[in-house]
Symmetry: none
Subunit: 138 residues, 2 copies
């Protein structure tokens, strides 16, 4: 079923605001739709999917520029570009996870320390984060 949508329906279906749709249009992320009726924009389900794609790609760390690039391309080279971008992001994300785990360890230790001895110290996270920094004045 090819349901035809107004801008408001599209926005609702995709979980964004009407203004966001207009903004995506201005930005070139969505093509200007047909306006068969008093200048009112008319959208299709494909537009819903396109916005959902944009939103999902955003949560993966792609910005709108990246996304526009992805959307413009099709065919085998698009796949390899997509692949490379994804692999890069993946490495970035794994590095961050590792670092956050070490911060978490430090924080847990801090909490435990605090609960055991009622002693005050400086925060181990900060020293874990800044290589070579001495404990003390911050």
């Amino acid at each position: 079923m090819k349901s035809r949508l107004t801008i408001g329906k599209l926005a609702e279906a995709a979980g964004v605001g009407v203004e966001t749709v207009r903004f995506y249009q201005r930005s070139g992320l969505l093509a200007e739709p047909a306006r068969p009726f008093k200048g009112y924009r008319e959208y299709s389900q494909a537009d819903v999917r396109r916005i959902l794609f944009i939103k999902r790609a955003q949560t993966l760390g792609f910005n709108l520029g990246n996304i526009m690039g992805l959307l413009k391309l099709d065919g085998p080279q698009a796949c390899s570009l997509t692949h490379d971008l994804a692999v890069n992001k993946l490495h970035l994300v794994e590095g961050k996870i590792t670092e956050l785990r070490s911060i978490r360890r430090a924080l847990k230790q801090m909490v435990r320390q605090c609960e055991l001895d009622h002693e005050t110290g400086t925060c181990p996270i900060i020293h874990a984060l800044v290589e070579g920094s001495m404990p003390g004045e911050f």
Copy 2:
């Protein structure tokens, strides 16, 4: 050696711009330094470390507000206050880890899809946008 730095030297040592230092000061991320000399700010190595910390924390996805909170964990405080702050930041960090793990999962899926279909010459992600439904959960 307690080298005393001008704002320019500090900025250079920390790899940021002079204006950024002033901005951090306005934002409360750096304390107003002493100005023993015609109103010129004077910094120490501790300020360099503090800026490096800020920059590092940013790459992990903390915003300046978060970072201000993390910085408050350091230094002498009432133990109960430290404890509460630490628990609070621990939750922040765990949320960040969870978020990144889900991004990682999605990216891995995306990479896998691309690799599977690479021989066929079509990118499943792009293809799905043109017609039909998205590959699940990408």
